[in-house]
């Protein structure tokens, strides 16, 4: 029976080990081979449905360590681990899932009040408290992003890795001979690889400062936007449809995993009080957002506005046909994501003065995905035994115009309703 991680126990089997364990077990390894055959063909779905051998193989594998294995962020054989994970989990999901389960080890909730990740995150996303940006409100010239570049330049590893990805992505910056070969168009694949190496090898306190430094003027915001050399790593001649971009991303195990991880750590699906999963673990969200950089789904700031900034991947919802809503929802997970916005602002302005009483963070229009709990209906807090918080009425969190007239009169202006006799 597969080693089930009990509640709270952090020990996960990584999928490379799980594959080895399965391969050492003849019963499991034969089924694993059959399963991979079932998933290769075009009619993958029907194979799992009609083909008895495939179903039998699946039944066995569901009990094997492969079913519950996970991968560590930044582990040595990360890509191999992810490939093993998807080799079995691709068969389990219809492939049309809007949110897929992340192959990375779940992130532990952050203990209060340490919202900003002073605690190291168990799953390998260790962070040291980012140095607070000394940027007094009044000082318009203050440029935390420039300070972040200085901090990086004065650190050997960061400077080396930063110069490496800039030189790769900014091909016109390269020496004559190489630029002549590559002409002026950059090599996006090599640029993405260099960016991933930068983010893997440089501690987050340097890389996150470059990515999430808070700005008070356009010069700073433009430097922040330029951090990933967007002309090469982000922009493209044509803007693809976001669902098409997602399809391309999900064909690459690395991109697919990091997109799932971003959704897992930055999207709140059920209704909860906090704006981020895992009890407002901002750091986990920032880290999984940063790890999308260097994949097909590379996100970036869309312009150099410093107050009302927006981040988005390079895609649009034009040409979505009947899937426009799904496309818009996918795009809004970047452009109107409360958790991500709070996390980025908390990183910049420090957690203490960033968090308002009601959990939202000051700053630009932070709109959660339209849901009745904020806008139209009483917040039905799911995990609180009682369906309704006493006194909710008082807070007026009701549907539309409050209308609780006594004595049988309807709210509408037309003729009052005849008083209703009892039932």
């Amino acid at each position: 029976v597969s080693p089930q991680p009990e509640e709270g126990q952090a020990k996960w089997v990584d999928c490379v080990k799980a594959t080895d364990m399965c391969n050492q077990n003849p019963h499991c390894s034969s089924r694993y081979r059959v399963m991979r055959q079932c998933l290769v063909g075009k009619e993958k779905d029907s194979m799992l449905d009609t083909n008895r051998e495939c179903r039998a193989a699946l039944e066995v594998l569901l009990l094997s360590p492969l079913y519950e294995c996970r991968c560590k962020r930044g582990m040595k054989k990360e890509l191999q681990c992810l490939q093993s994970y998807w080799s079995i989990h691709m068969g389990l999901t219809e492939g049309g899932e809007f949110y897929e389960t992340s192959p990375y080890e779940p992130v532990a909730p952050v203990r209060q009040p340490d919202k900003l990740g002073l605690a190291s995150i168990i799953s390998g996303m260790h962070t040291v408290a980012p140095s607070r940006f000394q940027c007094p409100e009044a000082d318009r010239k203050c440029n935390p992003c420039l300070d972040a570049a200085k901090a990086c330049n004065l650190n050997g590893t960061c400077k080396k890795q930063r110069s490496a990805y800039i030189a790769t992505c900014n091909s016109s910056g390269k020496s004559g001979a190489d630029a002549a070969k590559g002409g002026d168009t950059c090599n996006k694949k090599r640029c993405h690889k260099a960016l991933r190496q930068f983010l893997d090898r440089v501690p987050p306190e340097y890389s996150h400062q470059l990515l999430f430094c808070p700005c008070l003027h356009e010069g700073c915001a433009e430097r922040r936007r330029q951090t990933i050399v967007p002309d090469c790593s982000f922009k493209d001649r044509v803007k693809p449809n976001c669902l098409e971009l997602r399809r391309v991303c999900r064909q690459d195990p690395l991109c697919r995993s990091r997109l799932a991880d971003f959704h897992m750590n930055c999207i709140v699906t059920q209704h909860t009080v906090s704006s981020c999963p895992n009890d407002d673990n901002y750091q986990a969200c920032l880290a999984s957002y940063a790890r999308l950089i260097g994949t097909d789904m590379t996100p970036n700031y869309v312009d150099n506005s410093y107050s009302n900034w927006t981040v988005s991947p390079w895609c649009s919802c034009k040409g979505s046909g009947n899937q426009e809503e799904e496309c818009v929802n996918f795009l809004q997970d970047f452009t109107e994501n409360t958790c991500l916005r709070n996390a980025i602002q908390a990183f910049g302005y420090g957690a203490d003065n960033a968090q308002n009483k009601d959990g939202s963070v000051p700053g630009p229009s932070a709109t959660a995905k339209p849901g009745p709990d904020e806008s139209t209906s009483t917040s039905e807090t799911l995990y609180i035994p009682n369906d309704v918080q006493p006194g909710d009425e008082a807070q007026g969190k009701e549907y539309g115009p409050k209308c609780n007239l006594a004595k049988g009169y309807t709210c509408r202006d037309e003729s009052p309703l005849e008083p209703v006799s009892g039932y």
């Binding site: 440029n143 420039l146 570049a149 200085k150 330049n153 004065l154 400077k159 080396k160 930063r162 110069s163 490496a164 800039i166 030189a167 992505c169 900014n170 910056g173 390269k174 020496s175 433009e222 430097r223 330029q226 050399v229």
Partner: protein
């Protein structure tokens, strides 16, 4: 006691890119490493002869060649690329600015 000349070694100083004097305008700060000091322990018979020729010999031979007096304190290796964003939001990568070893 006559001050003994410092041996040739790597020094560093923080400069903004603009202060490098290469013409790039950028407020980014970086570490400029350079070689400074005397290379007393690398002198050879050649240097002794050359020094003597410089002082006397050359004029006698009707020569006005300019020659360096003794081994120079120079980098033997340079840091590779150094990239930065200039004040017009353009990236540049420059080579062999900072010394790595002397």
């Amino acid at each position: 006691r006559a001050r003994r000349p410092k041996p040739c070694s790597l020094r560093e100083v923080e400069l903004t890119v603009s202060e490098l004097g290469l013409g790039y305008e950028s407020d980014e700060t970086l570490l400029f490493r350079y070689c400074s000091g005397k290379c007393m322990d690398h002198r050879r018979n050649y240097d002794i002869t050359l020094e003597r020729m410089r002082r006397t010999g050359f004029s006698k031979k009707g020569r006005k060649d300019k020659v360096s007096n003794g081994p120079c304190c120079r980098p033997v290796a340079y840091e590779e690329d150094m990239s930065f964003l200039d004040n017009n939001s353009r990236y540049h990568t420059i080579q062999e600015v900072s010394a790595q070893a002397c």
